[in-house]
Point group: D2
């Protein structure tokens, strides 16, 4: 199929390349001219303005946005919407908030333009492994896009089949799924990332306790100096905690047994926050997903104001003066 | 090699069978005569008393305990210890607390008996997949046991190799590892299970929020009726949250889309509790692992006393009378 | 001063009575005619329609809303706004979300009407103790309202003065405070309630552990059957944990040592949820306030879906079948 | 009465002074000669060795230990126990672990010596306010000590009586309580401190969110620059969150509006940790008390190893390089 890709960064560029490699045609646009040229060299049709881009597409036009969530996506959807016509399809493959999808889709629907939200997982590995795609929007639009989605997705690969799956149809085994109406794709991706935070934090805490086992505060015969690279490796085979994140952790620990070059300053993207908001809106207790987010908030500060409040109280009731020495 | 297996339940029986299948000889003992007979039928040498069992072993004798942690392990170690001699090896493959290992090893060391603790992961799948084994004790004892451990472990299988591993030796890639001195195996298994709780809880909360998205309290255009079996399936390919636990969850959801036959009454084994204790002893914050444990505590009560205290306070300051209707 | 009170429930009715007792004149309106009549009997000027109510007020008119947050407040603000003129003051004394204040104030400002948000704490005790008032809006409007606010507030009373306070002016010692521009009052009240949840949960968990100390799972000589009414009473004198909530808890426990008549089904109001949202928006880790909210979510369900997911996973990897018996 | 006080630091010295002021006689011992001399100047009988101390006491001898928990208490109990006789009473007024009480009491009981554990709250304010005392041990020993305990405790003071209390006897209204057999006093104090951590953390988080409300990341019309000293002051009157800890916080904020001189490095004493252990042993979910402890663990580190693990994973799956800039 022929489609336009807007945003040729790490994700968009790689996705365009994967598409072209499997026979699709890509019209490439980016605000950075160099990115367009680079992708043109790899076979894309270059477009240096949105208008140029739109002109090169057959109808119904398919435009895939892979730009940062928030203001840039907002503006790009508006600008692209102004150039498209009834029947065309705009895909937001970024990390947008599902409520923004719902709102944007309504605006575009006034012109008859269809809006599809695609949550995309796979990171830097996606160009080779394929991308796990969670899709929201009209079923009919999903069906039009299926050839593209199938190419981007990993396919069944050598992942063992879930027993009972053979009786079911559908595309989930191929790594892409129509999750529901507009917003459903990004909602699913949001929860995916919320879970991701929780999984990461579970491993991180466990490894921290293993590392702390050599503390001299512990009795000498209950003290251990564990080799974390070996332990994460052994867990990769036959254990209950095997996962792709564990594979990556084992990889990092082989290279850097103490992870000394990693700051421990941990960013969070919107999805973790929106997951907590969704939990609160639904009234679902989500201790683990929330704690995983808060750990990241905390990791980016030297001390919270809350901690200074604790110090102040301790001083006031007990005369305790905190000293900045190890715990 | 020839060894004795004490405890022929789901774990011990299967491990014995896996060993025999690969050429080892097993002397089988269990307090239940029927279990001994069953394993004898599969090729084991039966023993109906510990003394009988010990008599059939060459020296240094190797005795593997696969019995419930706590009092039964305690008593069995003592009884076996009384029958063994210097140089013999007792292996506790159950889920013992590492501090108990340290204590027991000291007692046995007085007679020159060696004590090895083996944390075993793999559950009901181990007989086929192999067991991930985390071992503590003297290095020399570990080396004597290596042929047995190698058989029980999964081996490299078709798990992709961690880059950089080719330069390193060791057994972790085969699924068994000498983690350190006595207790190190069970300590590692304890943390393994702590992480397992956290991973499980992360998936569980995420799925709960997905399920809650159809709540009628939400605005109609931000409401979704997700198919969790499909979503967990699509995540199995190319996503960041892929794992064996996810595979199992996808399996359960294909069979039972609403998990209606599962009570939601969730047991915890000792390891989750000991993980929290280790975190507290080391001064390591472990929010996620702890919350995962507390969820289980909570799941086994209709209402906590704490909740009744909250109701009572609300009544007292605000005149609120709680009604038992949905949230 | 003369003002109108809309909403004559537990809070609004009592506030009107406290105002009248101290010489203010109240025009009383409620959708329930009986409530108006009851307050008229206590000295208020009755109004059976908003128009009647507005007619009885001198300019600038002061209208205090004490109605349920959400749709009812929204509609009432609109209806009242339609009847008022430039210079008049609308006060929302309910538990509104501060973002709604900001929005409503902008709409009213188009007609020159001033909007003041008042967070009100004190519960059923306020009629006697006075209400703690947190106010947002223009400083000038706050000043106009000061005589009313001073009457509603507790005043200094016999609360010991904070050292250093004597040098500072202001009204906070009297129990009412201009916290900032529109929304600041409800923001402060929101955090107040967030903290309230946390305090309540801290006591509740502590008492739960005390109660659990008699469990037969504990060693006989480390088992205690505590009298919680006595313990909460002793903490009321000289301890670090003394508070009004503790006073109320002691009260409840004297009446009902096991709190058997309290369900433990715990509602949450909006403020707890908004507190979590504010924490997430600001990037402030708020573990305790969030857990306190989640406890309430959990308290209103027999089992969460998350727990069923845990049961399902345990079944799949370990063959564990959960039995619904005590933990 | 006449008793010996061992340990004349901030707590022990003040308690001795309070006792003497109310007519009791104190034999003062401390390892620091200067402390003994200082108290002798205030009217105590000095003792420079334990033997000297014991000689000056009438039988049954009463010896109150106010020394650091752990090894020092352990050794002092042993040394004092060696010098005492049947019927004498040893009181541990420090912050010991209740399981140590149980153990020590058994040893002393072999000589007929009675052991009483007293949890003591009140901090630096106790000398004036009195100390809240939670007592464990034989009822008879408690009765012998009552005159001393009554003096140390705050008494009823002007704290309003809990309704229904008039029908009940007992000492809890006076600020001291026999909580149960040996260990019950320290168990109660342990939970008291666990609750204290939770209360402190609740206020701290709430104030942190208030402080964060001026963040420039928030929309301009939803941004507030709150005066925390004023807000904590207004909450002291008529609000639901009034407490002694709030009084102290208001005090600290008047002196130091940004708490800039407080490090935010927060120590924890044993009680917080033991509270978590008790919760885990009993199977009681204690999210808030545990999070309050973990916050303190976290506050004493620049970055946890867990956070470095998160950074490493993010690098591996997404190519994310964390930059150490604000969140």
């Amino acid at each position: 199929m022929k489609l336009a890709m807007i945003g040729l960064g790490r994700m968009g560029g790689n996705m365009a390349r994967r598409l072209m490699k499997h026979g699709h045609q890509v019209v490439a646009f980016d605000v950075g001219r160099a990115s367009v040229d680079a992708l043109a060299k790899d076979g894309a049709a270059p477009a240096y303005t949105l208008a140029e881009m739109v002109k090169q597409l057959p109808t119904p036009r398919i435009v895939w946005l892979m730009v940062p969530a928030g203001e840039i996506t907002e503006k790009t959807v508006q600008d692209v919407g102004a150039l498209l016509s009834a029947g065309d399809i705009v895909i937001d493959g970024g990390n947008s908030y599902f409520k923004d999808d719902v709102r944007r889709a309504k605006v575009l629907a006034q012109k008859g333009i269809r809006y599809v939200d695609v949550g995309t997982s796979g990171g830097v590995w996606g160009i080779e492994r394929g991308y796990c795609l969670m899709i929201g929007g009209e079923k009919q639009a999903f069906e039009i896009l299926t050839p593209i989605l199938r190419t981007l997705a990993p396919g069944r690969g050598d992942v063992e089949r879930t027993p009972g799956r053979e009786k079911l149809g559908g595309t989930s085994e191929e790594g892409f799924l129509h999750c529901g109406p507009v917003g459903a794709g990004h909602f699913t991706k949001m929860i995916h990332n919320g879970i991701e935070y929780g999984l990461m934090q579970a491993y991180a805490e466990g490894l921290d306790i293993l590392k702390g086992a050599k503390s001299e505060n512990l009795p000498a015969d209950q003290r251990y100096d564990f080799d974390l690279a070996e332990i994460t490796e052994v867990w990769r085979r036959g254990s209950v905690v095997g996962s792709w994140l564990l594979d990556l952790t084992a990889m990092a620990l082989v290279e850097s047994p103490n992870l000394a070059e990693y700051s421990g300053f941990v960013q969070d993207s919107g999805e973790g926050r929106w997951t907590v908001q969704a939990a609160v809106e639904e009234g679902v207790p989500a201790e683990v997903l929330t704690s995983s987010l808060y750990t990241r908030f905390r990791s980016r500060q030297e001390h919270t104001f809350a901690e200074r409040v604790l110090s102040a109280m301790r001083k006031k009731f007990g005369g305790h003066v905190e000293r900045p020495t190890g715990g």
